[in-house]
């Protein structure tokens, strides 16, 4: 950072013109070098903000301890995608959640994305408006990061995104609130010093199967041909709170099933199956070993009784006379025989 300090309100920079010589522009966080096609000189434009950056949104993105590599990469990807984000160290699990509000204040952020990993398996995401505003907790699933080879798109680092919402976001109040939250969090403010002046990618939020699906596409052509950049994830809403990381519950998702319950149900189903099998086996065993009663009269004795005369029993004392085998006389071929007839 140069020693030059910009005054608030940006009065000093308003009238500044672009420099014609290649010197690092002072006071700017990140200057963009661009060659003018017309001139052969290298022009360094004035910093993008130029005093016009009014929408001061800053998002704090950090996580708790115990996250796995995929979550870490997701966090880093979000930080890459959002130039108005700030990073922080991992938070200890033993601290209560409202501590996060203080962290946000220290970092001068007014939005927060907090990733919490439980049991090294489940990932929860908190999104909140820091001092007073609403907050929401989600369960994150189906994470795919930027680095996956199937995500072939690419975009400028820090370019402003278009946001695309499903019309279902307008239909119910909880979704409307979430839409506002997402809009303020994910949209890069105009004239942010780290932002790029081009708009070349679009975030989509869609509601399907009671979940919110997030996708990020790169705009290749003006005719809206798109390629996916990543990351992508699915958010399952759990609760919406009135305060930031606390406060009364405004909305609770009735379709949400905690991952623990889900796993438990699977285990119980498997256990029930095994138990049933065992029970059936036991019943068969007892049936086999129980005392069998002997019936005095056979119920089925009359089945083969046929009402006919009894023949006298013949006992042969001498062996039977052997029969002379008669040799079959061949009268000729079949055709000839038929012809003869």
């Amino acid at each position: 950072m140069a020693a030059f300090k910009r005054k608030r309100g940006g009065q000093t920079l308003v009238g500044k013109k672009a420099k014609k010589v290649k010197i690092v522009a002072d006071g700017a966080d990140a200057s963009i070098e661009s060659e003018q096609e017309n001139n052969n000189e290298i022009t360094v434009p004035a910093p993008v903000s130029g005093g016009k950056w009014t929408n001061k949104e800053r998002v704090l993105i950090f996580s708790s301890r115990g996250i796995n590599f995929r979550t870490r990469h997701l966090m880093q990807d979000l930080r890459t995608m959002m130039p108005h984000s700030k990073a922080d160290t991992k938070m200890d699990r033993k601290d209560k959640l409202f501590v996060i509000n203080e962290v946000c204040e220290i970092k001068n952020c007014n939005k927060c994305l907090f990733f919490e990993a439980k049991k090294k398996q489940d990932l929860y995401m908190w999104i909140s408006n820091s001092p007073h505003g609403p907050s929401a907790k989600f369960l994150v699933q189906n994470i795919h990061t930027l680095a996956e080879l199937k995500m072939t798109g690419n975009c400028l680092k820090g370019s402003r995104p278009l946001l695309s919402f499903d019309p279902k976001f307008d239909s119910e109040p909880q979704y409307a609130l979430l839409k506002e939250l997402f809009t303020q969090t994910f949209s890069t403010p105009r004239y942010h010093p780290k932002s790029q002046p081009f708009v070349d990618h679009v975030f989509t939020f869609t509601i399907a199967d009671n979940r919110i699906w997030f996708r990020n596409y790169q705009i290749i052509e003006e005719d809206a041909s798109l390629v996916e950049i990543g990351p992508r994830f699915v958010l399952n809403l759990i609760k919406i709170f009135q305060g930031s990381f606390g406060g009364p519950t405004l909305f609770e998702n009735p379709d949400f099933k905690s991952p623990n319950m889900h796993r438990r149900e699977i285990r119980l189903a498997a256990a029930a199956k095994v138990r049933e099998k065992q029970m059936v086996k036991e019943m068969q065993k007892t049936k086999r070993t129980e005392a069998k009663t002997d019936l005095t009269t056979d119920v089925t004795a009359d089945v083969f009784r046929t009402p006919a005369e009894e023949k006298p029993v013949l006992i042969e004392t001498e062996p039977p006379v052997p029969r002379v085998a008669k040799k079959k006389k061949v009268n000729g071929y079949i055709r000839q025989r038929m012809a003869r007839r």
Partner: protein, 310 residues
Amino acid sequence: MEFVEEEEQLGFDSDEEKSELSDDELQEAFAKGLLKPGMNVLVAKAKKSTNNVEGLKQCLAEFRKDLPWVESLDMTNLPAEDLISKADGQAPAGVNEDINADDDFQREMFFYRQAQATVLGSLPLLKKHNIATKRPDDYFAEMAKTDQHMQKIRKKLISKQMIMERSEKAKKLREQRKFGKKVQIEVMQKRQKEKKAMMSAVKKYQKGMTDKLDFLEGDQKKPKDAGQGSKKAANKKGPNAKRKFKDQRFGFGGKKSGKKWNTKESHNDVSSFRAKVANAKGGKGGKKGKGGQQNKRPGKSVRRKMKSRS
């Protein structure tokens, strides 16, 4: 799980029936009159979940920031037209029909089309505000993914393509081979059929069933009817020169034995009688003229030399 009756009973509070379903308790409940005859089904109680609509709306009103569109660049829209399913002839999905989240392709196409619709809608607005979407070719800036990574992606795509191409080629070759074999078999079968037909025609003639000699001309007639040009070209090659030579030299094969029979005809056949040879007329005198060159067998030493040489 709570125990709920199939037929609702007035004033029945399900909270009181939290007991397990042992027989004694069921009997008690029946005695009390809380159970009715018939099937009683266990139903899970509907979870009470908060939905503070008023609170949500109020919160939203307080929290909302009415920024101009340029700041947030957001848009709410339905997906763009589904050209693919239209082309296929399927009826496109209804306006707000639930996307089947399990059908991956349909779902991703839905998201894609939604993004497309947003882009198409936003472009004119962006133009109005003079925000560019196209990056000039010489604008070099840091990208979200490093160049190295993009190289990896490109390599992977290329390798996938190569694998597909190779498998396609292999499949085609296999098909060709099978096809070639089929053709060969067909040709052989055709030849055998023709031979059989010819033999049977000859036999018929021999036995006197037909007295037409059409089968001899059979081969010549057919090509005349069918395309002559191609047949002529094919016949030009005909049997190989090599084959011709061998036929010439070794004859046409056929039965070796059974050619010489001592029948009346062969006995009466005196065509191969040479009077001169039989009667030995003009013996040594006639021979002397050519004698030296005709049958002169070289001597032993010369023969031995010849043998060793060859």
